[in-house]
């Protein structure tokens, strides 16, 4: 079925019982006009797991520091190798499976990464309804407010917010049209588009309605870093959206997230590049948006509305997939799991290689090797760590772009093993350099379905 046709149908007048202004961040108020949407939005508290996704509700004893009585799985316990690859970084203290939007604020406030480390207000950009907050901080100037919030301490800034991502963060209260409210994404898209030859791209002006169905998500489900002392939230898209482009950018600006405890390497941690990876996949190419799978249309009485219970599509296969794929739900599920299983295998192979490299560098240091001796292998540690982490941190277990994810893992594995070999004096000098894995930067998200 053609998604674009479906959109037409869902153009339905809703009763406006309250007047929504650009200052209302409370979803309950919007819910008065759109009760069906509000109800499904609230369902993001549900926790149900799939083979590799969703999340599991685990009970815990609330403590004074962390009042949560339910949390998601502890990934560090499930896979201790993570504490090795992140040794010396906050992530090695606490990293859980992500869960529904309803938890974004409470999970951030209570992670040991916040409780035990000093964090900037920047963190809030993606964990709360910050649109009105930023506007107030900037007296009407969103970007000014964004800059102010970034520079506050997390503890001060978090007092200014109340809700997880809310209606106003994605919608224009007058027209209900989608809109981008995050300056970091506006800037990220501007530099990215520039790299493809499109000058001063204004996402709220130039993006198509279908693109917006992915862009609203791309405000948060992306790799990021905090730039300079202003802790400005920045997306490394200047050279493109691929992992290679991000690494090239970080190398250029000489950025490192932390110095690895065991190896002394200037390391990078990647976070949830769903938007970037999705853009390397066949769905983006086909004009399929995040919302098509994660917020599929559902029938409510006579209406077809976008399901605001944002979750794993595998919990909702009929709506999420069967509009386009004419196979049984069981078959669609097992197609995804086949892709994910392969990914998990190659992910393990790559992670074992990086873990081996770390152990090698560590003992080489202990054995008193000089910085110069370690340089080559540390360089390969930085690269392989980032490549591995990039697709590992991506949350679809390889589904959003199966081919690209495996290609990145193959490269990560090669680099990590070559790092070990470098320590032993071997530097590979192939007679034929590998052919480039991808064409020059191109903008898939804006491809049509035809």
């Amino acid at each position: 079925v053609n998604i674009f046709e479906r959109k037409q149908e869902s153009r339905n007048p809703f009763f406006r019982v309250v007047e929504l202004t650009d200052d209302v961040d409370d979803p309950a108020v919007w819910g008065k006009n759109f009760p069906l949407h509000y109800d499904s939005y609230k369902r993001t508290v549900d926790q149900e797991r799939t083979r590799y996704g969703g999340s599991e509700a685990l009970r815990r004893l609330p403590t004074k520091v962390d009042p949560r009585s339910v949390v998601a799985q502890n990934k560090l316990e499930d896979d201790p190798r993570l504490t090795t690859i992140w040794a010396g970084y906050a992530f090695a203290t606490d990293f859980r499976e992500e869960r529904g939007h309803a938890y974004m604020l409470v999970d951030q406030r209570n992670t040991r990464r916040v409780l035990e480390f000093k964090q900037p207000g920047t963190c809030l950009n993606c964990h709360a309804s910050t649109y009105t907050t930023m506007k107030e901080l900037g007296n009407g100037d969103l970007t000014a407010g964004f800059e102010k919030m970034n520079q506050m301490s997390y503890s001060d800034a978090t007092k200014l917010v109340e809700h997880p991502v809310s209606c106003i963060d994605c919608h224009d209260p007058k027209t209900m049209q989608l809109r981008i409210t995050r300056p970091a994404f506006m800037e990220g898209m501007r530099v990215f588009k520039a790299s493809t030859g499109i000058q001063d791209f204004d996402v709220n002006r130039d993006a198509s309605a279908q693109e917006m169905r992915s862009y609203v998500c791309g405000q948060c489900h992306v790799e990021y870093y905090f730039k300079g002392p202003e802790k400005r939230l920045t997306f490394p898209w200047q050279k493109g959206l691929k992992v290679d482009d991000a690494l090239a950018y970080y190398d250029e600006v000489k950025h490192a997230d932390w110095v690895h405890a065991d190896t002394g390497t200037q390391t990078l941690k990647a976070q949830h590049p769903e938007f970037e990876m999705y853009n390397q996949g066949v769905h983006a190419r086909s004009g399929v948006a995040c919302a098509d799978c994660h917020m599929p249309y559902k029938r409510e009485g006579g209406l077809k509305i976008s399901d605001h219970h944002v979750r794993s599509p595998l919990l909702n296969i009929n709506r999420a997939c069967q509009g386009c794929h004419h196979f049984s739900e069981q078959e669609m599920k097992s197609r995804v799991e086949t892709i994910q299983r392969r990914f998990a295998h190659s992910r393990d192979v790559a992670m074992n290689a990086v873990v081996d490299l770390i152990a090698d560098i560590k003992s080489a240091r202990a054995a008193g090797k000089t910085e110069k001796d370690l340089a080559a292998s540390r360089d390969l540690h930085r690269k392989s760590q980032f490549f591995l982490d990039y697709v590992e941190a991506e949350n679809s277990m390889g589904f959003h772009a199966p081919g690209e994810a495996l290609r990145v893992l193959a490269d990560a594995t090669d680099m990590a093993r070559r790092g070990q070999l470098a320590l032993r004096g071997f530097i590979s000098s192939p007679t034929k350099q590998p052919a480039p894995a991808n064409e020059r930067v191109q903008d898939l998200s804006s491809k049509g379905t035809r």
Partner: protein, 166 residues
């Protein structure tokens, strides 16, 4: 496997129940039930009757059919074949039996609101539709069907899934 498509996995028991071919007696039973059923639902819904006409517009009396109506208009068949050309078998008898069965179950589903958001064709109607292609195209495809024995016929829909509507 083409001639015996597997169940289009929707978990509604009532629908599963229809997913086996119909033996003659059972068929009769249902026809009877169907007529009554349709009659019944027609009472509340004019739509039931829609099944008895060939007017696509009538199918779309049920908004849930609108998607296909829209798609059909744009399709290569929008001007050459109506819904019933593809969704009913050749021959008046079988045609109205099918209409009755569908009319009954769809009306039932519609009123009880028991059906998936993404409607999937049932194995039975899938086969009806497969055979309906030949109403118009048998000459063209006699050749490619020449290598096939009964029960292993070429599945048109595999390659032409969207000829009727996206």
């Amino acid at each position: 496997m083409y001639n015996q498509p597997v169940a289009p996995g929707n978990d509604i028991g009532m629908i599963q129940a229809r997913q086996n071919g119909f033996a003659a007696p059972l068929l009769l039973a249902i026809v009877a039930g169907a007529t009554v059923g349709v009659g019944l639902y027609t009472f509340g819904y004019a739509q039931g009757a829609s099944y008895m006409t060939d007017n696509p517009q009538a199918c779309a009396n049920c908004h849930v059919m609108r998607e296909q109506l829209e798609g059909w208009r744009k399709s290569s068949h929008g001007k050459v074949a109506v819904c019933n050309d593809c969704h009913t078998p050749p021959g008046l008898g079988p045609k109205y039996v099918t209409k009755a069965i569908n009319g009954f179950f769809h009306s039932l589903a519609f009123t009880t609101n028991h059906f998936p958001d993404q409607i999937r064709i049932t194995p039975r109607n899938f086969r009806v539709t497969e055979s309906s292609c030949l109403k118009c195209h048998s000459d063209l495809v006699d050749g490619i069907r020449g290598t096939r024995t009964d029960g292993s016929d070429v599945s048109c829909i595999t390659c032409h899934r969207s000829v009727g509507h996206m």
